[in-house]
Amino acid sequence: MRIKESVKQGLTYLSVTLALILLLPGTAYAQQNYSNPAQVNKGIDQISQKSGGLIQVRKLAVSPGGTDILLMEIGKKGDVPNPAVLVVGNLSGISPVTTEAALSLAERIASDPKLCSEISWYVIPMGNPDAYSRYFTAPLYMDPGNFSPYNDDMDDRTDEDGFNDLDGNGIITSMRVKSPDGIWVPVASEPRLMRRADASKGEKGIYKIYTEGIDDDGDGQYNEDGAGGTDVNANFPHLFKYFDPKSGLFPGSATEARELIKYAFDHPEIAMAFSFGQTNFLLVPPKGGRKGSVDFDNITIPEEVGKAMGIDVSRTYTMQEIMEFVQPMLPPGMTIDEGMIASYLGLGAVVNPMQEDLVFYNRISSEYKDYLKSKGVTVERFDPEDAKEGSFEMWAYYHLGVPVFSMDIWALNKPEAEKKESSGITLEAIERMTKDEFAGLGEEKVSAFLKERGAPPQYTAKMVIGLINSGQATPAQMASMMKQMPAPPSDEQKGDPRELAQIAFSDARMEGKGFVNWMPYDHPTLGEVEIGGFAPFSGNTPPYNMVDSLLDLHLPFVFELVKKLPKLQIADAKAIEKGSGVYQIEVWIENKGYLPFPTAMGKRNKIPAPAVITLEGSGIEFLSGIKRTPLHDLAGNKSLKLTWLVKAGRKGTLTISLMSKQAGSDSKQINIGG
């Protein structure tokens, strides 16, 4: 259900054939069936052409490498746009499946006009084409940077020392070298994998690990200054990391990010943001725990300001108290607001998700988990990444002030938890046992005990019991022998669980192509090395034949999500006669959606525009209240009553209109007068 299957298949067969003919390295590893940037843009055009006018394609930006970043606007056009959802795919450019997900989402929406009749969708499938194009380039390696040059190592040249495919297999892996100051050792249970030696357990490191390549610029460092670039998903303004090689010089310095930011603010009807990327806010809601968020109930006034304002700095104040204190100091006509105080006192930005917002994040997360269970997903997967500083996900929540959700589509499953039944036997207990007591333990318990002790596999329970029974060894002797054996492996020494899962997946589902076995190589400066390690993308990109089922599983939940968008309506309106042509107008506004209008963060940052309720009627005079009343916030599934007092000259109708770009419009007429 994606790009015209026959066209794609044709292209695929052609490219595979060509690859074989040209003996292109990399065909064995990069899965050719994911759409490359040109195919993505072609696919976007095709989906839009088939949509019967529902989709309009725009060029959002051009990457430094010269590729168009296209945006699909799906839904009705008109004077008053519908509330909209902004969907971005693959902003870090390193996850092909996320681009496929965004494309597929667009296709699904276009094929069911009901999905875009009341909300619009603004979809950008390929947010970082430069980085994404690396998936289709040899030698293959993962790098989120776009193609703007950057002098990573701050020397006399730029982009002069990238990776080198020394073993010619078309992918960049690792090199391990035996070195006196090496810190890595192989994992005992899976020696293809490496782990850090644990000096506290008396281990000495063996290997140093480098990325595959040579020291192109002779400065003693390897592959430290490759081509590019700025990670688009690190170039957004919230918690931007200055002077980091990958974040860009300043927020919005990358045109891919800047145009996206500009587009978002130019479209205040955007009520929700969705990212297909490395995070998954549906599984793991956004995390807090950062230092720096100011509590508006406990504000400390800086000394310098306290002196100037004549205020006691030894205690804290609430925002309200400070506002009341400052208001009389201002020239008449000027009203104080929180923003002014916050900026004058240098209070800083919010850096942790608001508590009230976490309520809906947690609730939606359990719903999502239930949904997965109902679809037969029972195995637990490894956690997604946390949102990183300077990312789109963070900026959309903290700066745009809308609910943000995300999916990473695929991750490795966690291994089945080992039955951790304790044998209950200790070495001390064995020392004191008689041979009968030992035999009485039973094979199962002894087997568990031997496993716990990390005994070599040839020491089966049967063999050990046999030794004791035959008198060849006493339990005490056995115990002292076991004391001499190396201690059982700690969890760290067993190797990284994710890597173990990854290599197992490679063996089972990728014909071993996810991992290159260590092979010797004669390196020009490092001498005898071995080249090997995980193939790029083998940890985050599923085999292409899995994509369809993954998207069929996860994408429908996106449509469940948008059902929760806030929706403001006029629930009721009436005019109560007070006599002498004076009427009390009562209007009940309701938020029929689950999500609040706006989020708590949107309330705090004041970016989402208020809804405006307008009263219109000829001959109406306002006694109390005004014609245009802003409504700044309304929680989900809640109602609010607004009242006015008007004088009606004569009989007529009063039109009550509700207008909110993000949460919808409504209108009601009531009779008045006469």
Binding site: M154, D156, F250, P251, R258, M329, N605, P610, V612, R628
Partner: protein, 581 residues
């Protein structure tokens, strides 16, 4: 009949021509008036025309209302390309009402160009540096400040509509010039229940009533009426986006700091200037002129950033101390500490992302409006914030009367307000309070342009010398290279080194018949200690400190000519050669 007609035409022509002459902008420029935006552009054009080889005039970018932001570059091409010299950048008027900053920049250009070749100091400072001057950053603001009615403080922001009062409408309720006098002043109304009464010492002022007193006036605030009928007056004027909060370093959104714009560099002109400056990484000294208060501020802009590196503070202290003497009464201060925290401001951007030293010059001290036999009053800043005591106001009004012949204060005049009925309108006029009366402008522009010229004399001046060549055994040569900087500013700011903003200065040694066997920096002279570079000894990196030196030692094998090159983003390029025999 014909005679009368001809003489009429003649007198008309003379009137027109003399009017034209009165407005004509020519070199040398005059500083007894404020320049409109159009006159600023004309001034730049006449300077460029009069000094074609020394100047370049270019369009940096456009404002929201599509006006051109101009930059004048002053460089002597005979002493090298602009990018090969330390750059001094000066701009002004990022806040639309802070107009005298434009005159300071024009004066700087005028002073340098009209005295080039006449005064040695000027000739030298122009030959050794390049000057980048953008007299008006907020071109829309300047135009609207001149053309619209304003207070001395309004029309500060960029022309980006913002719904300041969050009622769904944008910029719908600005101040209104009810009496059409070109100023936005104050309104008051007679009211026996009012909290104010006429100041017995000065009838143009009001004082709060004490318990038991009879009230006289209510202060109705800024001139205007409720344009959008929401019960608030003048609550949503242009913007509010403050051009000096919209820069991309340490930017914070509007709820943290009012007026920052929706995202960094959302202002078209601001972004254009940033990109223009980033293409000129040789800029080492930046001045941003504002009003008012009489200060030269250095960063950091927020306390959380921590103090600047000691090496940079030393440079600032040296410059600041002397600036206080060039403009007596102005104080050299720290931005966040002595003023207030600012996020996303211009000088934080230039210090951190261009790698320069930067001063914000707050021009003009209203305390010079005295009437007590002194030249300057000592104003307490907290009073300025809280609205001023009447003591100063009374004195200023005497200044207004006797030095400005009433030009600065609009007398209270009755007016019929559409909603409030009989009121009075009066107060300080637009060209006052933050702006010197033109008779004081000449002094202001000369002194403040002189601070820029003074710092330009302190930009790094690096010389390269191969000061020792010794032949060693085995065909090896030992050469020693010295980079010496005679001026106070280092060739790279310490902040740039700390941030790793860009690579340090590069020293390269090469010769067609020679190979650099080893090389390193002399980190200590007595006793002698050399820090050798393990890889690529023929390429060395350094910062040449202010009034200091850096020395290198190289061991070379081979013979023939050997070339040593020094390349610095700010301090230019130097070259020296030696023959190894």
């Amino acid at each position: 009949m014909k005679k009368i007609f001809i003489s009429l035409m003649l007198s008309l022509a003379i009137t027109i021509i003399s009017d034209l002459y009165a407005q004509e902008i020519k070199v040398p420029l005059r500083f007894d008036h404020y320049y409109t935006y159009e006159q600023v552009v004309e001034a730049l054009k006449v300077l460029n025309k009069a000094y074609p080889s020394l100047t370049t005039l270019e369009e940096v970018g456009r404002s929201e209302e599509n006006r051109i932001i101009y930059a004048l570059t002053i460089n002597n091409p005979k002493t090298g390309d602009p990018l090969s010299k330390p750059g001094i950048y000066a701009d002004g008027n990022i806040h639309g009402n802070e107009i005298q900053a434009g005159e300071v920049c024009l004066y700087l250009a005028n002073r340098l160009l009209t005295n080039y070749g006449k005064l040695d100091d000027i000739t030298q400072v122009v030959d050794r540096n390049v000057f980048y001057i953008i007299p008006v950053v907020n071109v829309d603001g300047r135009v609207h400040f001149f053309n619209d009615a304003n207070t001395p403080s309004t029309n500060r922001g960029l022309r980006i509509p913002v719904d300041d009062d969050r009622d769904g409408l944008f910029d719908e309720d600005p101040p209104d010039d009810l009496d059409g006098d070109g100023n936005i002043t104050s309104m008051r109304k007679r009211d026996p229940h009012g909290r104010l009464k006429t100041d017995p010492e000065e009838p143009r002022l009001m004082i709060p009533v004490k318990p038991g007193d009879q009230g006289e006036w209510i202060n109705l605030g800024q001139e205007g009426f409720d344009n959008d009928g929401d019960g608030l007056v003048n609550e949503d004027a242009e913007g509010y986006v403050d051009g000096n909060r919209n820069w991309g370093y340490n930017w914070a959104p509007p709820y943290v700091q009012n007026g920052s714009g929706l995202y960094p560099f959302s202002g078209t002109g601001i972004r254009a200037i940033a990109e223009w400056m980033l293409k000129r990484p040789n800029i080492i000294m930046v001045f941003a002129f504002h009003n008012s208060g009489g200060m030269y501020l250095r960063g950091p802009s927020v306390k959380a950033a921590g103090e600047l590196p000691a090496g940079d503070i030393a440079v600032y202290d040296h410059l600041g101390k002397n600036i206080e003497k060039i403009v007596p009464g102005y104080k050299y201060l720290i931005s966040w500490k002595d003023l207030y925290a600012t996020y996303g401001d211009f000088t934080d951007f230039t210090n951190n992302l261009i790698g320069s030293y930067s001063f914000v010059g707050e021009l003009y001290q209203v305390g010079t409006e005295t009437f007590d036999g002194t030249f300057i009053e000592q104003t307490d800043r907290s009073l300025v914030m809280a609205g001023g005591s009447n003591e100063r106001e009374r004195e200023r009004l005497k200044f207004n009367d006797h030095l400005a012949q009433g030009e600065l204060f609009k007398e209270w005049t009755p007016f019929k307000h559409p909603e409030y009925g009989d009121i009075e309108i009066g107060g300080w006029v637009k060209i006052s309070t933050r702006l010197p009366h033109p008779f004081m402008l000449q002094d202001l522009v000369h002194r403040n342009a002189s601070t820029v010229i003074y710092t330009a004399q302190n930009t790094p001046d690096v010389s390269l010398e191969i000061y020792e060549v010794t032949r060693l055994e085995g065909g090896l040569y030992r050469i020693r290279v010295r980079l010496h900087n005679r001026n106070a500013m280092p060739s790279v700011t310490y902040m740039t080194v700390k941030n790793k903003l860009y690579p340090l200065d590069i020293v390269t040694v090469k010769g067609s018949g020679a190979k650099v066997v080893s090389g390193g920096k002399l980190v200590s002279q007595y006793p002698e200690k050399i820090e050798y570079k393990e890889f690529k000894p023929e390429v060395q990196f350094c910062q040449v400190p202010g009034s200091g030196k850096v020395e290198f030692q190289f061991l070379i094998s081979g013979k023939g000519s050997l070339e040593v090159n020094y390349e610095s983003k700010k301090a230019g390029k130097r070259r020296s050669e030696v023959i190894l025999k």
